[in-house]
Point group: D2
């Protein structure tokens, strides 16, 4: 049963000014402990180590995505567009609110090491024995399953999926604005109100009125800048590398039956691959940071060093390499070994372009990184075209890739062992 | 020795746009582990439970206070005001940066229960065996002591103290702007650039050119609004009450030799009063939240309930009481006992006006809450007057106190035991 | 007949972001030549001579008042409040859009000298042989008359009047935000979205939900600051005095049958009191400035000097006088005459408090300056109270009046004739 | 003689917050009547007819360019860069302040018809018998000439010229930010503080530290968007076409000895080509609008219609044409003649790309439109490179040109004579 609140509730939000809640189910979802847990998971992972303002959580972002979705739908309703299936409002709002509920602490790094997937955990939480599930079931026995289908992009009405997951969805629009606000950069601001106004439901998709093309161009340029200035910032990448090293080292030690002085149950089950929903829900950034704090005094010097580095922000440095040939890497590895460094933990090549990224590529094939629905323009004669066909500027930045290889390493041991290194290595690392 | 950096460093900051670092010592202080720890202490304690955007840390604020101080001093230097002792720049900047380094997790609540004082801890960290102390000593053996004197307001040159601690100091100016930015409210914004321009060093104090009076009025009105809208918000007060209850309960259990399933060393030493600097530095909000998470499954039902409430934001409700007479409180207590509630933990009177507060009171006497230097105006004939003598609006809000008693309590058990309560109690609590 | 536009139109607006037009009649009104003329009348009269950014016109403001009214009404409609008479929407929107259409060039000064009233001209334009009238009549023969009744505050449904004309109406809310934006000051910003959300139609009036009291306090404090910082700024007052002197001198010369080298017909009819709607509509700030430019070369030295002063911003200086006694003024006048200055044109006492002003006074009686509907709060039990009864801060600023007498005068002749003046005058004028 | 003001003066500015004046000569220049006249010349010509907020004047912009230049230089001085010639500060500031003083009313349109050049008039005013010239001469007899040389880009030290006139000069940086602020669009905002920080004087030029490349990319993208969204907006182009038609018609009539009912002397001398500095200074937008207002009642129907159109914003409509072949244009002309329209005044092809434009083209040759100094990056090894060699995104937008032919025409007569037109014309003009 779907109930309206007697009185609209609001959250004060720095990005959208207010977030409005009219449905009881939304209010109840926000108040579940699983949703409240998102306050203990940062939205931008380790970016706060580069941009100190970026300390905002997935809680704020999730409310923001909900609010964006609500605004889009209420605009559709206000104009009475017939292509919008009105009965899908509630499932859309719930999916928007919950789409990130499965995120773990420092998700991207954690997922790479442990091969978990936040989307899968989102579904587990929605479908499992949780407060969220109980709230959702009040709207119908199969309602949790419907929400999960939207998350998995399998929902029968693709327009609902595209609200939460496309090249210009509520998720991205919120995070660009929000991350720009909290980092304090100007890059990510675009004309949201204009974009909302030109969105149209059209034959099962969301398209953009062609008159709004310039606003979309501006949005895509903002996105481009945000990726290169914020999300791929080399210092942030360095902290992510440290994080991954910590997780990898802990996993390796665990598999070698190393005895940890501190090993809380949720982490243990993560390491041995038996983690379930209740343990996963305990796994927030507080717990991870507490573990790192304890581990910074572990006997294993490597783990202890990595944890100290992370907590005290003594990150790896990097050099830029045009072409990291095998010969070169072998040479570096040999020198590393010579001075007692681990090629496995003390050097790492990073190439942001290889990473899941988000610059606009409308032509990505199924299974490739950019398979999300492209941005479609609707002209006055009801013809559809993909935006890069019409926009010179979008076409010119599509497929553009800046990118360089970076080699990350700890600087202190290199400085200490400088004299033992070959001249070419010293030159390369500017020692 | 005081060294300039070869190249100015900057931090991107949402409030000041950029924070500029020119001195090596400042750069090194930021990079100490004690300063980095401030990233794990929130600036506004539990306010994020009311204003979800307010997740910023004392790290950001401390950089901000440093930057404000730097701006004030560089304005003094640019104009070559002779009343500004130029040799005090470095000690002022260090004190500004470090003034909050002794803050613990959820400081205000923690300090009330354990009678610690963050100012004392700040001095302990500055003077103890820490990275901060080592960096400071590079500027002279007695430099740490000088910085500590500024923190304690005992520094021989009062103008240095007043930069960091007065009615319109770098600390307050940063936090009003910053807290307004992160909560998303408009109340706390004032014309900082104007205020900086009208500040003058004058006979050992910092005064305001009379022509800037209106900007100061605006600042004081902003402050007034921030106190009542943000800092004293009833929901935030509720979460602080829960926090205090948790700390009190843990302390009580500890004193009763209760055996905790989880009791990390820093918390233990806090509870038994033997805490030292290394343990204090481990005591961040991650550790506290991890403890709460563990304790939410403790055998002691009261502690477990309070911890769950805090983590899952199931806060106490409140009613407003005009005059909480002893008779009334006794009656409530009796009823509480009757339905199995604890008068000690399940009801608490709150009167914000009694709390350390910050509305402008220029006439507070030594030892009273508002003994900070009042705001002084300097007119064209070099006469000094306290601002409320000149400004109608400041006079009219000075001493103004809104304030009402609130009684906080858990709602669920009351609803469950509704029928056992007297009619008058049912009416009072709107059951 | 009331027609919707096929497609919503928008204006990009710096204050409201967008102004939305849905009704054909609004679109047509904007396109009348009488409304377009507002582009040639500045919103803040001579304030641009003090705050150079304040060059915005009444055109922008009028669109803004319309948009505010539209937002308030659409909020009423969205909630389905039964106390809002839905059939009054169109008349409200038209009155909001047109409420300033009768403003002349530099209205306040012009009205004081020529005793015209912009409200009367607004009605004349609405009811006369104008494009505006023709557009309005398409909605019904008596529709122009209805709109005029709203302007005159005689409309049978007072709730419509209070939208456009009360202590917290669409007009004031727009101008505070807009004038703050264009001058660049922070004072005038308040939380508009919050205020819109707490407005309620209630028994023929618009009231404020008590939970929104703090937002209203903030609005009133913003207003207070704007009045003293912007609207009553002494330099702006000086330019208004020059303006009035020009108009007075021109009138005097005209009545003395002086022959002007340049006297366009609309100005002539203003001077001889025969001005009609077509001439009034020609009377924009371009024409007035062109006349001043021509008159700055008139034979009459006084008129020429005043016009040059205005165009070239050589304004009168001022001194502050505690108590302008008759004795003192007589002494000044005598000295003025002695050095060839005119007591009529070269000195003017200004006391802003005497002027039509806007600080909140809920108790003004009929005929007094503040007879607009006071701000009423609606509590949870549907009780109404005037805001200053509930709010400490509003009570404390209500009736507060700063104010000082200023004497304005041209400085150059005084400096030139310095030696001829008495010592006391020299001292008073700091010569 | 160069004198500092006893006390720094400030202007409140919405874009830069404050504009600071420290030199007496700057203060005196602002107070000349020639500079005050800029208040009566709009910065963006007719753009206010499209973006109603854009009513700001060249006065505001000129102060802004001065302030930007002051900020750049004071940053150079603060770092003590040896490549900055300190003795050039005053001439740079004066040139920045005065660079637009020769602008006439609706400059671009006026210049096209009458072949005047505002740069030439700027020099005439600086060197002529003016208040500006008298103020400048106080700093030395040849000082006016030096300032004029900067304006003409002939000053011996090119670094001074590049401050005020290059691809990233104080002029452009101010107008992008200012025009974005007043129109209310987001496009034109970039990170000014960052850009100021990475500018370096280097061997007679101003270059950008390579680490600031991203900020420059953002600036260029903002510029790109502003051009297409604001400066080349089709409605603004339409109003410029009307303006040019008015000027052309008046000139034609004048040459045919038509007798105008209203013809003020400055306009007359403009028409007959004898205009001198005093007349030019009278020629502000007030006068031009007053003339249009009078001419809207002229006997010549064409002039009267065009003037009414301009004042009342009844602009020409446009259609987009892929390729305006001679055949097509001939056909339209014939049809125009048939229904009594003038091919000379009632149709005009516009191709923005043909107009003086500003998209970044580093390779323009002498005499071409973009001969301004390109943007140069300085890397850590003191090597210089042009930005498009390093930046993928700049390279990709360089030379990019969107552009389409538009044919502007009055719609009303076409609608009236619809039945007389051929089918193909009716189809083309959607009648």
């Amino acid at each position: 049963m779907h109930k309206k609140l007697n009185e609209e509730k609001v959250f004060k939000d720095p990005v959208h000014n207010y977030v409005y809640v009219q449905d009881e189910i939304i209010w109840n979802l926000v108040n579940t402990k699983e949703f409240q847990r998102l306050r203990r998971i940062r939205q931008l992972g380790t970016s706060y180590l580069t941009f100190h303002g970026a300390e905002h959580s997935r809680f704020s972002h999730s409310l923001g995505v909900y609010e964006m979705t609500r605004k889009i739908i209420s605009q559709f309703e206000r104009h009475g567009y017939s292509d919008w299936p009105q009965e899908e409002k509630l499932v859309s709002l719930c999916a928007a609110l919950l789409h990130d509920i499965g995120h773990g602490p420092f998700s991207h790094s954690l997922e790479q090491v442990f091969e978990t997937h936040h989307e899968q955990w989102t579904c587990n939480i929605i479908l499992g024995d949780t407060e969220v599930n109980r709230v959702l079931r009040e709207a119908g026995d199969d309602f949790p399953d419907q929400v999960a289908q939207v998350i998995r992009r399998k929902y029968p009405k693709p327009i609902v999926v595209s609200l939460v997951s496309s090249q210009m969805d509520a998720d991205r629009m919120d995070y660009l604005l929000r991350d720009a606000y909290y980092t304090g950069v100007h890059y990510g601001t675009f004309d949201l109100e204009r974009i909302l106004r030109v969105l149209r439901p059209y034959k099962g998709r969301i398209v953009v009125k062609e008159s709004g093309m310039h606003a979309v161009e501006h949005y895509l340029m903002s996105r481009y800048q945000m990726y290169w200035q914020i999300y791929f910032h080399p210092v942030t990448r360095s902290s992510e590398i440290i994080l991954r090293q910590i997780f990898r080292r802990a996993k390796q030690l665990y598999e070698e039956n190393y005895s940890f002085a501190y090993m809380p149950a949720p982490l243990k089950s993560l390491l041995d691959g038996t983690i379930n929903v209740p343990h996963y829900l305990k796994l927030d950034e507080s717990l991870v940071q507490t573990a790192f704090s304890e581990w910074s005094e572990e006997r294993d010097g490597l783990l202890a060093d990595l944890c100290s580095r992370f907590l005290n922000r003594k990150l790896y440095k990097y050099i830029t390499i045009d072409n990291p040939s095998e010969t070169l890497l072998n040479e570096i590895e040999q020198q590393w070994v010579k001075i007692g460094l681990s090629p496995e933990y003390h050097m790492e090549i990073d190439f942001p372009y290889d990473q899941p990224y988000d610059v606009y590529r409308p032509d990505a094939k199924k299974g490739e990184k950019e398979e999300k629905t492209p941005i479609l323009l609707l002209d006055n004669e009801d013809r559809i075209s993909e935006i890069s066909q019409k926009s010179d500027i979008v076409r010119s930045i599509t497929g553009l890739h800046q990118g360089e290889y970076r080699l990350y390493y700890p600087e202190e041991p290199l400085l200490a062992a400088k004299s033992s290194l070959t001249g070419s290595i010293r030159q390369l690392f500017k020692l």
